[in-house]
Every structure is written in structure tokens, then in C-alpha cells.
Subunit: 295 residues, 2 copies
Amino acid sequence: MDTRHMRYFMALAETLHFGRAAGRMNMSQPPFSRQIAMIERTLGVKLFERNSRNVALTPAGKHFMKDCRNVLGQFEEACRDVGLIASGMKGEMRFGFMMHAAHSVVPQLVQLYAEARPDVRLVLDERTPTEIDEMLVAGTLDAAVTFDCGYAPHLQTVLLARERLRIIMRKDHPLATVGQIGPEELREEKIIAAPAATAPALRSAINSYFSARGIVPHVVLEPRLQHTIIQLVAKGLGVALIPASLCTELGAGLISRALTNAPQLDVVLRAPITTKNPAVSTFMEIGKSIQRALL
Amino acid sequence: MDTRHMRYFMALAETLHFGRAAGRMNMSQPPFSRQIAMIERTLGVKLFERNSRNVALTPAGKHFMKDCRNVLGQFEEACRDVGLIASGMKGEMRFGFMMHAAHSVVPQLVQLYAEARPDVRLVLDERTPTEIDEMLVAGTLDAAVTFDCGYAPHLQTVLLARERLRIIMRKDHPLATVGQIGPEELREEKIIAAPAATAPALRSAINSYFSARGIVPHVVLEPRLQHTIIQLVAKGLGVALIPASLCTELGAGLISRALTNAPQLDVVLRAPITTKNPAVSTFMEIGKSIQRALL
DNA sequence: ACGATCAATGCTTTCAGGGTATCAGATGGA
DNA sequence: TCCATCTGATACCCTGAAAGCATTGATCGT
């Protein structure tokens, strides 16, 4: 038995006429009759009640017709889908991003992609920048939005946005009313910042902002999540330098201020150059279109 | 493309080795390699990444593998099922019965059959005896439990039970305390009985019970459903002769009494002799076993 | 460098399955 | 009743898809 036989069967089941069914299969009646007989012999079941005048389905034939319709439908769908998957029109893509990017470029990126490739299932995965780098290398992620942490030979990179850092503090903090805030003004402040092991690009930007003026920042707390940092600042445990896009949704007791010569961080979209998932390429293309809009 | 090709593909996808996959398909490696190449060419998709040393699935190949597993599973299930259906092990059977038989033989019959043929879907259909006869002829029902209404050449018949008629009345009815109740005692009573058009066997049994003594019963109401008859008796609108099996669940205000020379009705299982549904035969066999237990 | 392994290619062969001609049973009109 | 016609089954032939065998070419381990 084969799908071809099922198609023969379906042709006869639908027309109930050997000649016409054979014609539909682009063949002559005699070999068609033989095929039907063969099907019945191999299945060991009479599918048609027939004499030289009439053809009718047996009950078993009626049931088999339903089953064949399903099987043939799924069969053809499978053959069609594999082409779509190979061309990236369908399939799955695992997409990682650092938490605070969820507030800026990620929604736009995801929405544009979902419109362009509605049949690709996007698996979103929020991670820290370090985790993202590891997962990109390991192949656990197909693409990710993270901070540009420099040279990465096996990754292709698309710049999505530039983010300046701003400083956040409680509204009752002395610095809340100072005109200019730079490294010198923060020399004695308690700084809260993510550890280098979690967000290397962010932390090194903060560090060099201070060290360029010969100052060693007084980092008192090192939570891994930006969310936690904001909460700790709200509790009055220190001030923090965070990406500007995170400053739009601060709690009531907090205020953000610009920094003089504020450090800039590049938010990039990255994917392994050697990716075998064809769904990734259009994702990167959409990233590039966002990049063009940026310039 | 054909299921055979899918099987080739699956063999290679599972072994990732042309030689072993070919062996599993009982063929030598060269034609197997050609078939895989053919599949990729017809689908227009690279399914395997391979050199002379390693074989690996592409992402499209991985997806196709899942789809193939489904399709092949359903394909084989369909081929297997058609045999089961033809042998009556699986399928559907439409079974009709008159309402009051639901209280006597039907539960036993249905239960025994469901145990013997768990994969046959029993479609139960409660009907009046006349409707049942029509549907058996029309082929809308595969088998039915009804009253024996005499000669029916195109039907096979199995006696399932003999039911005597009893008379029901309100507890406060004068006849409730009379010793013997026969046609004479009922001469002046208001009788409630189903019309001959709905239940010919039942009605003619009632009629001849009276006419044997030269009495014409005074039928005042002719509801189609036994259920309705009982309710009308409860309302005091008359008395009724109903099958004994219906007397076990009378309401509180009603009482049933035996009749002298009570009429008997045969409850039979019937199916068209020419039935093409193979699920019916065991149903009839179970009917016969009930018949044997009856003697 | 060499042998072992494994997929690809070339050539031959076979049989599954298609084509044509014909038969046989059933139906309906003259 | 008989014949024309329709329809499925059979007989026989033929083609090509696909299998086998022999061999090549590439890659890896020793």
C-alpha cells in the first residue's frame, strides 16, 4: 500500500465509476481496475460492492474513505510545509533578549517579524547579557538582542539602538537639584550596578565613565537584574546608572537626570553566522531595516 | 513522493547512516542513496547535511521527520482499521429501540456488546415501533429492539423477552381492590392506549384482548409515548394496559395489577438480512445468547 | 602515507504498473 | 426477444522506475 493507491481508491470512491476515476488519475480503465483489485487484495477487505453496472462503497470502504482523506491531506501538508520551513516561512525561532530591551526595540522587532512570518513560532527568552552570549554560541538561541560587547567573530551583528545612561535617585536626594552631574559629583555616592559577570558591557561602560576621570566608583551593591537595582535605589540604598529607556517607567519616588558626557551603549541584534535555521535571515533583515531607520 | 519515500527518509533520519538505513529497508546502499537524493530533488529541499563521513538532519529535515512520523502512523492505522471495520471489530452501529425496552433488555444487550466490541461506536436511537420498522427498511438503523409485529421477510428476528401486559391505575381507583381484572371488569373503564399507527403490535394486543370477549374497549386518549400514558393515568383520566417491565417505576399514586389471561407481547431484536454492516452480526449473536438464557 | 569507511556514480537488470484489445455481464429500447 | 450500449474484468505486451553490482572519491584514524 502507498499513498498512490489511496489516491486511486479516493478517485473511485468519489466518482463510483471505474472509467471516470481512471481518467481523473490520467490512466486507462484496465490498469486502474487492477490497482483497485490489488488494494482490496493487500488489505484483505472488499471496499467496493460492484457488478458490471453499479459501483458502491461497502461500510468498510466508507470508513476507509474518511481515513484516506485525512492521511492524504496530512501527507500533502507535510510535503508542502517542508518547503516553507526550508525557506524560513514556517518553523520555530528561539529569540533571546536582555530584560530592559523588552521596553525598547524588542516589541517593534517581534511585531514586524510576526507580521512578515506569521507561521514561524517565536520562542521568546529573557536572559542576562552573559547568558545570551553563551546560548548563542551553544546554539540554544537562534538570535538575541543584547549590548554590543565587542568583537565576536562567529556572530553577525546589527546595531538596533544607541542608549545613553542616565542616573536615577530618590527625589529627596541632594543631587536631585544639582545642575550638572558627572563622575566628580558622584565620587562620594553609593553606586548600585549590575556585576561585570552578568552585564559586562554595561558595567564596563560605567567603570570607564569614572576611571576616565581617575575616579574609582563606590559600588556598594551588585544585583543581577535592572529591576532590582531600581527597587534598591527607591529604598535609598544608593544611586544607579541605567539605560535611558528604563527611565520612563520609574516609580513615584524616583527621578532620573542626564549625565555630562553620558556613556553610550550599543544595543545590537546578534545571530550565529553559521545558523542553519532559515527563519533567522528575515529576522536579521528586519533588524537591518530598524538600523536604517535609526540613521 | 509516496509513503515509501517517507519510510526511506525516516530510516535515514533515525540511523543517520546510509548503509544501515538501506539495510533496514532491505536494499543495498546505492539505490537507497539515489532515493534520498530523489526525495530532496522532488521536494526541492535539502533534508540532510552530509559529506562522505557524516550525515545530519537540517532543520527542515527535523521538522519533516515529525510530520512523517505522524503521516506514516496514521497511514498504517488507516490500513489496519479497515480490516477491523470489515470484520466488525470497529466501526459504528445505529441501534434503535422503543422507549420502554430501555427498562428491560436494552441495557443488558448494549453492555454485553460494548464489552465484546469496545471499538464499535453504538449510536442509540429511541423511537416508536412504527418509526423503527421504517428505519430498518430504509437502512437508517442497523438493528433495533421492538415488538414482534409479525411476518417480515427481509428482517432476521431474535426473540429477546416475553412481556405480559398489566393494568395500571390510581391507588384510589375502584378496581384497585377487585380480585380478578379482565375485559369484563374494564368494559366501562376509560382506557388510555397508544394509537395503532404508533405501536401496532401493542395496540392490536390490547384490542384483541377485549374483542375476544366481544367487548369494544372505550379508548378515550391515544398518546404516542408510554411515558405520557402513565402521566395521564396518574392524573385520573383513565386506566392503561402497559408492559410489565414499565410497572416497576410507577409514581407514588399509581398501582399496577395483573390481568386474567394477560396478553403477551414478544420483544424481538431485528436487523435487515441483507445488512452490510459487519458490526451487526455479533450484535445479533448476543441477542441469541439472551434468547437461549430465556428458555 | 595508507588503509578503512562511507556516500556517490555508472551500468545492468527486473518487475510493477501502464497501454491496447477484447471479453462478459447487465440494462434498456425497438 | 434481441440487439446496441455501457461498464468492469482479463489477456497480453511494453516501458521505465528502481533495485543490484562494481567502482570511485572523499575523509578520518593509525
